[in-house]
């Protein structure tokens, strides 16, 4: 009995002393987050936990139905202000016409990170670039020379810095046009996102994001999820230029001879 207790104690001490994972370093001594990454969850449908549900297009049946998901939002429902909660429901009801993803608009942050396609991190000391498959969205993370956003944009203006093993990205300068998911979760142009990227092991990152928007939410709230490395030898972010696919949707009624 005493031997088992000793072994258990030893194991406990060992795990307490086991350091958190330290990623290999880049030449400038920072955790190397270079690579092609992808989220594996159903947050792109709805960042909150949800059961299976019909999709908005009858003809696509089960292939475009909403897969059930545990959600990535921490600590309870998204804390909407009362009038914002009404707008969220309206967004959901009218999502087929209102969801910016449908029109191939840039997905914004954090949505770009959990769309079901790979994205690539290209890391240098001064700039970290994030290149997403959907609509070829690009983010420039400024690692020094931090400036205020000169104007609003879809993907925001990102200033980054390192905190030990974690890349911290602080983004403002958003317009109010993007959503967080296909369920109508939204924000205003006062959105402020602080993301943390931390290597969990050689093929996984832990992604956390704190969302703040006093016009829409009563308090800041948080989401978190793993990011998985695409380990195929020839993994590549391919060109998903979707503008052509939505032109008839947006401009079809302006075609000569189109019936009103």
């Amino acid at each position: 009995m005493r031997v088992v207790a000793c072994l258990l104690l030893a194991a406990t001490i060992a795990s307490a002393q086991t350091p958190a994972y330290k990623a290999p370093r880049t030449a400038d001594g920072q955790p190397n987050l270079n690579g092609i990454w992808q989220a594996l969850n159903e947050a792109y449908w709805d960042i909150e936990g949800h059961g299976a549900a019909p999709g908005p297009v009858l003809a696509l049946g089960a292939s475009a139905a909403v897969a059930p998901g545990l959600g990535i939002v921490e600590g309870g429902p998204i804390p909407y202000r009362p009038e914002a909660a009404v707008k969220k429901k309206e967004n959901f009801d009218k999502r087929l016409t209102l969801d910016p993803e449908i029109k191939c608009y840039l997905p914004g942050v954090p949505r770009a990170n959990y769309m079901p396609y790979p994205f690539q991190i290209i890391q240098t000391p001064k700039y970290i670039m994030m290149v997403y498959t959907f609509a070829r969205a690009v983010r420039t993370i400024y690692m020094d020379d931090h400036k205020e956003a000169p104007a609003d944009s879809w993907m925001g203006w990102s200033n980054g810095h390192w905190e030990a093993e974690t890349l911290v990205v602080d983004t403002t300068g958003f317009n109010d046009q993007t959503w967080f998911d296909r369920a109508g979760n939204f924000h205003s142009d006062e959105l402020h996102v602080v993301e943390r990227f931390t290597a969990a092991d050689k093929d996984h990152l832990l992604y956390e994001a704190t969302i703040e928007d006093p016009k829409v939410f009563t308090r800041p709230w948080k989401m978190s999820m793993p990011l998985y490395r695409r380990v195929e030898k020839n993994a590549e972010v391919l060109e998903f230029n979707c503008v052509e696919f939505v032109e008839d949707l947006i401009y079809g009624h302006l075609r000569k001879g189109a019936s009103k």
């Binding site: 205020e148 956003a149 000169p150 104007a151």
Partner: protein
């Protein structure tokens, strides 16, 4: 001072601004509908491919009408230090341009002037710009 655009040997030798740009605009706006607006800025959308100035224009009847005026890409101005804080809401402008073909309160701004006749942006001399452009 306006000068006729001279067709010189230089113009023949050197690549001109692509013609398509002009055609696209003359399809959107009507050369037979020149306008001159005096109004106050409510918003400058610093977007691409072209930025948009939102103006409140007071008509002779005293009613305020909203106009949307198309301008250039803001990207070079941003490099020269212009930000969304450079032009304040309420700034008074005079805009000369051409009205939209569909007859709505939209126009392309040929000239953007402050109320005192100064050009709104002069490139490197833009108000609030961070100094002249260097290398």
């Amino acid at each position: 001072m306006r000068q006729k655009l001279a067709v010189t040997i230089a113009a023949v030798l050197l690549s001109a601004v692509p013609v398509w740009a002009h055609h696209a605009f003359s399809a959107e706006f009507d050369v037979n509908k020149p306008i001159k607006l005096q109004g106050t800025l409510t918003k400058w959308e610093m977007i691409n491919p072209h930025s948009w100035f939102h103006l409140d224009v007071k008509g002779p009847d005293g009613n305020v009408v909203s106009w949307l005026v198309e301008g250039g890409s803001p990207n070079q101005l941003i490099r020269l230090g212009v930000t969304k804080k450079t032009l304040s809401v309420g700034t008074e402008f005079i805009i000369e341009g051409y009205q939209a073909r569909d007859g709505t309160n939209k126009a392309v701004g040929r000239n953007f002037l402050f109320a005192d006749g100064r050009r709104l942006f002069l490139g490197g001399s833009a108000p609030g710009a961070g100094g002249t452009e260097g290398k």
